[in-house]
Symmetry: C2
Subunit: 383 residues, 2 copies
């Protein structure tokens, strides 16, 4: 049920011919209220896609009544004509559901650097408007897939309210978001400030800590829409915790479907002087191609981890570092520790723990291994 699990929302997903495969490629999620509070975070990439440029303007009002999303084209680096396509899609949605264009967030994903087929997109919007329903979440989730092998959906129940969500993303996952579109809905009745704070905190410790291939996208959008239809006004902390839990679930689904990956890698950095230090170390490891290929080869190569740690400015003494693979401390004090043979990397899940022995802070980064399939998919497929 995903985004339509929350009361007050209708959604739909249709095939408009933007994808060569003929699969669903246009999605619409409408918030029927009574509240139209919304919050969003966008890519920090300076080269932003047209729908991001549009949606940032929409979200200045901290409200939204609908979001229209398409796959089959990112509408990125397409200039003024591309921006007009985005605007035209928002205007058509607005006209059909009886709101203002500036109430409509727009998201696009797919190939960048090519014009999106405006006529097909607008025709798809005409269709999806007619198919909107309160069970339309799964169709919408399917319509935003690109190289995803499965749709990503989540539902969480709070006390008297619900959080639902859908996501797409299978590569270009990097800090400050990814080629990632996420729509979260809730029927909780919360104000714009609470919604914004909750979303920023939730994304900070979930999507922002996913670093699949170190490449930052141009189209990332995480949108939270709040209908207030449940009448429940949860405590801000409780709502943040539930939203974070939902985001964590979606983030793990993205990780598990990352292009060509064979391992989901959790990098825990502990006993750092600061959380920023822990994050810097975790990201440096997550971005080491040598580390990522080693995990693909089921090789617990801690030397490549130390080489990555050594590129950071985090507080640590090289001769004090401990490293574990799946709980086996094969590096102690910067030297060989327990035998490498004690590590088994045959499971999909791999946990690397780095003990900096420099303080009490910690952070976790999630990444994937670098595989033949990743190279194949990204050398053969234009995104």
């Amino acid at each position: 049920m995903t985004v339509t699990a929350s009361r007050g929302f209708r959604a739909g997903g249709v095939a408009a011919g933007l994808k060569a495969s003929g699969r669903r490629d246009v999605a619409l999620v409408v918030n029927d209220g009574p509240s139209d509070v919304a919050a969003a975070v966008f890519t920090t990439n300076r080269c932003k896609a047209n729908p991001v440029l549009w949606s940032e303007q929409v979200m200045a009002a901290r409200s939204a009544k609908a979001v229209v999303l398409n796959s089959g084209g990112a509408n990125c680096y397409t200039g003024p004509y591309g921006f007009q396509t985005t605007r035209a899609s928002a205007e058509l949605v607005a006209e059909r559901i009886g709101v203002e264009a500036t109430d409509v967030v727009v998201c696009s994903t797919g190939l960048i650097g090519e014009q999106l087929h405006r006529d097909k997109l607008l025709a798809g919007i005409e269709t999806v408007v007619r198919e909107l329903s309160d069970v339309g979440g799964p169709a919408a989730a399917e319509a935003i897939m690109t190289t995803d092998t499965r749709s990503k959906q989540v539902v969480r129940q709070g006390t008297g309210y619900t959080v639902g969500g859908m996501a797409k993303g299978a590569g270009m996952l990097a800090p400050a978001l990814a080629t990632m579109l996420v729509v979260l809905t809730t029927d909780a009745d919360i104000d714009a400030t609470t919604a914004d704070r909750a979303l920023r905190e939730a994304t900070r410790v979930t999507f922002d800590r996913l670093d699949s291939d170190g490449c930052m996208s141009t189209n990332d959008t995480v949108l939270l829409m709040c209908s207030g239809a449940s009448g429940a006004t949860p405590d801000a902390d409780e709502f943040t915790a539930l939203l974070t839990d939902a985001c964590h679930d979606l983030a793990q689904q993205l990780l598990g479907d990352a292009e060509g990956s064979e391992h989901d890698i959790t990098i825990e950095v502990v006993n750092a002087a600061t959380e920023d230090d822990a994050l810097a170390v975790g990201r440096a490891i997550a971005r080491s191609n040598l580390f990522k290929t080693a995990v693909y080869g089921k090789d617990p190569n801690w030397g490549r981890i130390l080489a990555a740690v050594g590129t950071t400015e985090a507080a640590f003494e090289p001769g004090a570092l401990d490293v574990a693979f799946n709980g086996v401390w094969i590096c102690r004090g910067g030297e060989p520790g327990e035998p490498r043979d004690a590590v088994d990397l045959s499971d999909r899940a791999v946990t690397v723990t780095v003990d900096l022995k420099a303080g009490r802070e910690s952070a976790t980064i999630w990444t994937n291994d670098l595989t033949h399939a990743y190279v194949h998919e990204n050398s053969a497929y234009s995104t």
Copy 2:
């Protein structure tokens, strides 16, 4: 002739059994003077190998009379015992050639996180001392190879003097050097300050701009030894230019032999506000796995380039960026320009040009594509 092309040097390379293949793995280069001026640059990785820790101390005196190198083991993350192995090898060389241990630079390369076989190394030193000769350069160059498919050597003639060199490196190539060992010799008679300045300038625009896989090594060393045997004292600028030319040649040899690569990619960033901006943009592109896999797939995917440029803080307007592949400007003003079909990426050499339109500075970074063979080599081989 490489390092022995310069008068005043003897070298040799022998097989000591450190490499499982039984190939040459211990090299020695001796400077017979009359001068013992030397300069060196080392990895900026904070997790340094034992030979780097030793050699940094040696080079505090800005002189060196010999360098002993081994492949088959990096002696990195091997603790005090590993450091003693390094010291023992320097002491043995010193004793046999009649100098002090603190005159002997040590370099190691190979697997990290495992003890180097001290007895085999010392036995190899005994052998190589006996084989030292003024035509021993090629054997030395061969003895420092790891995953290199060919040895790297260079000779340049100045006015009345010579610069010779050898290098090893085939991966982990990243700024601030790489898994790279380079020994340069000259029979020019120059002072320590001139040698140091010349080496820093030469490496700044050559080895430091090679970014093959974004991974910074723990063992990188570039050493210049000056015998003064020619009696010629070149102008500092002329010497720097010749040394830079020699380093450029070696750097291009390293690039051409990078693990699994099928394309040598030159990234030119032009019209930047500052050289640092140009470098930041070039490095961001060189580290984009999506860009590198696209080149492997012969896909001139300029969208992935703009996405990488957008992660930097360099001065530019997103809507002003131009991008060319091999001189074809397929992105103009942040939008599609000339047709992609006009670009042919079938040759090994690929040039990407990014015009930031923000100033008059420029910089060039060299990198490789990301291939199936890279993944294979680095998942199957522990380094």
